[in-house]
């Protein structure tokens, strides 16, 4: 690694972490976030560059874990890389930086009212960079398209914009109830932040103005949303499901009858072979995911649901345990998807071949969030309690984890068409 002079930061560094192994800061071009040396820039990173990353050589490569592998604890059965200095309470959201930023930066929002940012290096080392606080638990976070800002949504009914260059965060949105989802929309003729809240509204904000550009009414509380321009999908309480089109101006495109029988929990839009959003995957609390195309040639055949995150039900005599699907993420290159559930497992699926690619071992806590980085080489998942069994199972002392896994190989589609 190169060792250039440390660039001074403009703002105060909040959230000092305990002493870590040697942090290296490369020279910057005025940004507080360091720029990685070109040799590690992942412009066309194939699996070979990541050969040291996420290998099965044990979880000591991150230089963080003090757990011996002889203990019986099952917090990392997949032997994935642990992120250093994880949040102190459950992680609600994970997001990787967009491709416009060199390198990989990960943000995580948590129920400890904070959102933290790490740099993830190619050898798997994670370096905490900064954090920001809200006055309530953070429920969602996303990056702007140029990677300079992070938007966070919180139970304190506000959303904030965190400028990473200056390490300052300002409030950009206000709702009447906790803000559950936040997404950055970059259209050819406008850009804005979309926030969905439990106050049953979807609001669009120009970050420079305190009043929303637009407010759309939802039939019920917003539970999850996803945006892939020019499409946005919002799932609400009472099995509501609405698709919006974002060209020129956000407008409701279609209300869709839910293909699922129970509460919607997470939604993720997928794209077709020419990179246009064409449908979404919707997960419920009942261990089931529905794949729904917006305009399929044959809806009866093309749309389907599949069961996941259930205890082994090969013998139908014993009742299954059914777990909620906490998050769905699509691999940006292969188009295959990952689901994470309250059972503490993650699974990879190929929706076109309608097969399961892999299921992980069971972690000792539910997996509450997941995401892929921009080129699909890294799969991050968070192991923390999701309240699926109520307050009795909440242990504030239990450590929360974020794991990183090499996703380049395992998510290749089953049949090359």
């Amino acid at each position: 690694m190169s060792s250039q002079t440390v660039a001074p930061r403009a703002g105060p560094v909040t959230g000092l972490y305990p002493a870590l192994p040697a942090e290296e800061r490369s020279g910057s071009r005025g940004m507080a976030l360091p720029r990685l040396p070109a040799v590690l820039a992942s412009s066309s990173a194939g699996p070979t560059r990541m050969s040291l990353f996420g290998s099965t050589s044990g979880f000591g490569t991150g230089g963080t874990s003090m757990f011996g592998s002889t203990t019986a604890d099952n917090h990392n059965p997949m032997k994935d890389i642990e992120v250093t200095s994880p949040p102190d309470d459950s992680i609600s959201c994970l997001a990787f930086s967009p491709p416009t930023l060199p390198g990989n930066f990960l943000i995580a929002g948590s129920w400890a009212n904070d959102v933290r940012c790490w740099e993830v290096q190619d050898n798997g080392q994670t370096i905490p960079k900064a954090q920001q606080m809200h006055t309530g638990p953070v429920l969602d976070g996303c990056w702007s398209d140029d990677g300079s800002k992070v938007f966070t949504a919180s139970c304190d009914k506000t959303a904030k914009m965190w400028d990473l260059n200056s390490n300052q965060a300002i409030q950009i949105a206000q709702h009447d109830a906790p803000v559950k989802t936040i997404h950055w929309i970059k259209a050819p003729n406008y850009s804005c932040v979309m926030t969905g809240s439990w106050d049953k509204t979807l609001k669009f904000w120009d970050t420079r103005s305190p009043t929303p550009m637009m407010t759309l009414q939802l039939p019920e509380r917003c539970y999850c949303a996803d945006v892939v321009h020019p499409m946005a999908a919002v799932a609400t309480a009472e099995r509501g499901l609405i698709v919006y089109q974002l060209e020129n101006q956000p407008s409701e495109f279609r209300r869709i009858e839910s293909p699922l029988k129970h509460q919607h929990r997470c939604v993720a839009i997928f794209k077709d072979k020419v990179n246009k959003p064409t449908g979404f995957a919707l997960g419920s609390i009942e261990g089931r995911v529905a794949i729904h195309y917006i305009n399929p040639p044959n809806p009866a055949k093309d749309n389907f649901t599949f069961k996941c995150h259930r205890s082994n039900g090969t013998n139908t005599s014993a009742p299954q345990d059914i777990y909620a699907v906490n998050g769905i993420a699509f691999h940006p290159v292969h188009g295959t998807l990952a689901t994470v559930g309250s059972d503490g497992r993650f699974s990879f699926w190929d929706k076109d071949a309608r097969t399961k690619l892999k299921t992980s071992e069971q972690l000792d806590q539910p997996i509450s969030a997941c995401c892929f980085n921009h080129n699909g080489n890294i799969f991050a998942y968070a192991s923390s309690y999701d309240w699926s069994k109520g307050h009795e199972f909440y242990n504030p002392q239990k450590k929360n984890y974020i794991f990183l896994r090499n996703a380049a190989e395992e998510l290749k589609p089953r049949n090359k068409k």
């Binding site: 509501g240 089109q245 869709i256 077709d272 305009n295 777990y323 999701d386 307050h391």
Partner: protein, 413 residues
């Protein structure tokens, strides 16, 4: 003709398309998943190929007669569409008259739904899944009343707020009460008596009047809950009924509009046959009905925010939650055709919704009068001063949450 052996076992995949004979005596079985699955027969065939890689439970359950579970359910998104229903009924049109039919007089379709509900309730109870969720037996159906919906995050936030105020007992009591409520409703649905079945079936078919009984049901419990953010479940349950499709409305009227506009679906969603209009929705051309007829567009396409226009659409959607009769009818073409037809049909519905949105403020006063048992709103005169004060306050106070529905003029429409 030869008798169809699969039909006799109750599992013919072709339904009324089957080339073999389906004798009427065998049609009285409740296991009529066959005809419905016939429409998804293509998927069924494909699924055999993947049987060894998709989790086995899908196929195990499919032999249970569960069109509400496993393979049958997952096949078709237009599961509840009129096309499928006609397939069922054309096979069993006279099943009510046949002597092999169950004595309680429910048709196969209804019996299937009831079985589905009972089975789902049993699964829900034993599986340990999240309790505070809505439920519907089938994809196109509205939510079954009596289930309050909270996400895990909402419950967790309540806990955090309560423990910040050292009020965890309040939280625990509220949660226990909700759990009890859930269990009662679940037991009720697991073992329905005849009148219970009738009301459930009418609820599922006709989403209009049924929300009202749940007002009283939910309202009585609401006062003792420490969940100030969701004191009145009435509006939310009403909302769920009003925007869910009434599946018996034929899509015929929407199809007439939709067929001409089908080609002008926004091509940006990746599946299109129309190369003509580059910006069909955004530009507000009259050639793209899906754009022009959204109510906020008509008020001025060039204004950036269009909040006033949007509130027109927003109000019609919000009004969906308060009125019952007028809006669901206009909203159904969009929902019923959601999977197949173009945005034009939903847009035309939105237009009528938008237009009727302004009229709807007068309609609800008419609607509750037509409903004999319960009122949707309480006139101010009937409220005590304390209740009025609660409704006018920003938040409900614990222990003082009114049991009656709010007056209409306090609602934001």
């Amino acid at each position: 003709m030869t008798i169809c052996q699969f039909f006799l076992q109750g599992r013919c995949r072709f339904g009324d398309r089957c080339w073999n004979e389906h004798p009427r005596g065998g049609g009285g079985r409740p296991h009529s998943a066959g005809p419905v699955r016939g429409a998804g027969g293509g998927w069924g065939a494909a699924s055999q190929r993947y049987a060894n890689v998709i989790q086995p439970p899908i196929f195990k359950h499919s032999t249970w007669g569960g069109s509400g579970d496993g393979g049958g359910f997952s096949g078709a998104s237009d599961f509840g569409s009129p096309g499928n229903k006609s397939a069922v009924f054309s096979q069993n049109r006279f099943s009510a008259l046949s002597s092999a039919h169950p004595a309680d007089g429910f048709s196969d379709e209804e019996q299937r739904l009831l079985d589905c509900v009972a089975k789902d309730m049993a699964t829900w109870e034993s599986s340990g899944q999240w309790m505070f969720s809505c439920y519907s037996p089938e994809a196109g159906k509205p939510n079954v009343s009596g289930f309050r919906e909270f996400s895990a995050e909402e419950v967790r936030l309540e806990y955090y707020n309560c423990s910040a105020n050292n009020n965890t007992e309040n939280y625990i009591n509220s949660v226990n009460q909700l759990v009890q409520e859930w269990r009662n409703r679940l037991q009720e649905l697991k073992a329905l008596n005849a009148s219970g079945k009738e009301s459930l079936l009418s609820q599922l078919k006709n989403a209009v009047t049924q929300p009202l009984p749940s007002l009283g049901f939910g309202g009585q419990q609401a006062s003792s809950f420490g969940f100030p953010s969701f004191p009145v479940s009435s509006s939310s349950s009403a909302a769920s009924f009003s925007f869910k499709a009434n599946p018996s409305v034929p899509p015929g009227n929407a199809a007439a509009v939709g067929s001409s506009a089908a080609a002008s679906n926004p091509p940006t969603f990746g599946v299109t046959s129309s190369p003509s209009v580059p910006n069909p929705v955004g530009s507000g051309n009259s050639s793209a009905p899906s754009a022009a007829s959204f109510s906020f567009k008509t008020s001025g396409t060039t204004s950036g925010c269009g909040t006033s226009g949007l509130s027109g659409f927003g109000s019609s959607a919000a009004a969906n939650s308060s009125s019952t009769a007028p809006l669901p009818v206009s909203a159904t073409p969009s929902a019923a055709t959601g999977t197949s037809q173009s945005g034009a049909s939903s847009a035309s519905a939105a237009q009528t919704a938008g237009a009727s949105g302004h009229n709807v403020t007068s309609a609800p006063s008419a609607v509750p009068n037509g409903i004999a048992s319960d009122k949707l709103y309480t006139p101010r005169s009937e409220l005590t001063a304390e209740e009025l004060e609660q409704f006018e306050a920003k938040r409900f106070t614990l222990g003082k949450i009114p049991l009656k529905p709010p007056p209409i003029d306090l609602l934001y429409l």
